[in-house]
């Protein structure tokens, strides 16, 4: 069993290690080790399309995480406080479905109903749709572990619902709110499938850019951007986990 488990861990880490190592390889091919170089990182930082894609990704991720955190926090509180049937279903189903279904249905909706030109806005809306559920789950888990009597005490002392929220609930769930925001940011910046269907031709994001490079011409520049993106998301997730441990259980997508 020890041995089998060890092999599985190897299986998990070997491929990513290979990607990182080849990002420093002084050869156009991902085959033989030739020598160490920073060349691919230099190429990367001069690649204007890639930089534009990175800027788009960050803008979308900032917007999506901000709005999804607000909506998700509301949803999480509502799901905890009230016996709602429809809301948990609406919020969690998009997370559990194959992503392609959300992608194509939004594509249809944006073009056929809203007559929207696909671009930053359509991607932003699409990302919010699947991030809300993740935030709501983290918030609800946090609230579930809390003593109800704190909120009752606030009410008994004459606090309005808004005061109770601002002075009691919000400070208590703050770690989960921050964790949810960081998680949404990560999910958004990493998303490929849903972005693929909702971005149209004009706008690119990092994953879309990586995809087209993989499909057209693989150079170690892909390895370099992958390595940097890996570091970024790794940092975000570890940071999120510091605020709220349920993130690690939730972060399975």
């Amino acid at each position: 069993m020890w041995f089998a488990a060890l092999l599985v861990y190897l299986f998990l880490y070997l491929p990513l290690t290979v990607v990182v190592i080849y990002s420093f390889n002084d050869s156009r091919l991902n085959a033989e080790w030739v020598g160490f170089t920073w060349r691919w990182y230099e190429v990367l930082f001069q690649d204007e399309e890639m930089i534009q894609a990175a800027v788009n990704s960050i803008l979308i991720a900032l917007g999506a995480s901000l709005i999804a955190t607000m909506l998700g926090t509301m949803a999480g509180i509502a799901m905890h406080r009230y016996k709602l049937k429809a809301l948990p279903f609406l919020v969690i189903t998009p997370v559990a479905m194959p992503e392609i279904l959300l992608g194509v249905s939004l594509l249809l909706f944006f073009i056929q109903v809203l007559h929207l030109t696909l671009g930053l806005l359509s991607v932003l809306i699409a990302h919010i749709t699947f991030c809300v559920g993740f935030v709501a789950i983290v918030i609800r888990a946090r609230l579930a572990g809390m003593d109800e009597s704190i909120f009752e005490a606030a009410r008994d002392l004459g606090a309005t619902p808004w005061q109770t929220f601002r002075l009691v609930t919000l400070p208590l769930i703050m770690p989960a709110v921050i964790a949810g925001a960081l998680m949404s940011f990560t999910l958004s910046i990493d998303d490929f499938v849903i972005t693929f269907f909702t971005a149209g031709v004009g706008v690119s994001t990092l994953p879309l850019q990586i995809y087209s490079m993989i499909k057209i011409a693989v150079t170690p520049e892909v390895n370099a951007v992958s390595t940097l993106l890996m570091l970024l998301t790794l940092g975000m997730i570890l940071l999120a986990a510091r605020f709220d441990k349920t993130v690690l259980r939730g972060e399975t997508r």
């Binding site: 488990a5 990607v19 509301m74 194959p98």
Partner: protein, 292 residues
Amino acid sequence: MNKEKLTRWLVSGPPFLFMVVFFVLPALIMVVASFRFPGEHGGLAPMFENSSWQFTLETYQFFFSDFIYTEIFLKSFLIAGLTTVICIAMAYPVALLITRVPKRFRDVMILLVVLPFASNFLIRVYAWMIILGPQSAFSVAINSVVTAFGFEPVPLLFSPFAVIVGMVYVHLPFMVLPLYTNLEKHDPILLDAAQDLGANAWRRFWKVTWPLSLPGVYAGSALVFIPVLGMFAVPDILGGTGDILIGNLIKEQFLGTRDWPFGSTLSIMLTLAVLAIAALAMRFSRKSLSYA
């Protein structure tokens, strides 16, 4: 309206409204689109034309008339099934091991399973492009064995094999986490009892641990099977021209040939399949819970 009710609406209203508009409505539009005619230049034809409503069952008839679509659905189920079984086989030793190490190591070991998945999904797939590529050390080693036995060298990349490896790699933690959550709750005393009664390690596993872990196995299976069923990127990147699954078919209808009604029909078929699998998984795990 009293204050309590107002608060309730203020808190649940905005997320509710957002999800209705951007999740329920698009889903309904897709159902409607599946009964419509394709437009002349792709997309959808007008719904109301020549003073009559334009609806049709054509796309559904088309789906069942050509066996190729049923075949692609069956193939997708087969790939998803294989991926699930391999994931169970690989996740089990890891999950079991984590429950048997001292408590303070457990979080780290779980973290080590989840961590690779902090990297972008495409990067994880791309990594296998390198490893299975024709010039990679792995491919060369495999093929030197193959040719030593007198066979033609086999290309590893752009094959069904590569697709399954990629699918397993991308979905493995979905299996490890629920399995571990389940195994963690088992009372070790049950295994002691089985041992005292003379059961060897093999029997202890199959008669005690395995049946008790079934809810975890079913939960993990649903979490692996469902996303694999709709995946288009893995076959797109690692598969050959023949390795087309439901996801690729849907993508092609929406972005390639732009036959949106048929694309919607395929999406609805996929949704139905997913719902069936989810219902099945829930039924099974409830049944096995009542055993345990």
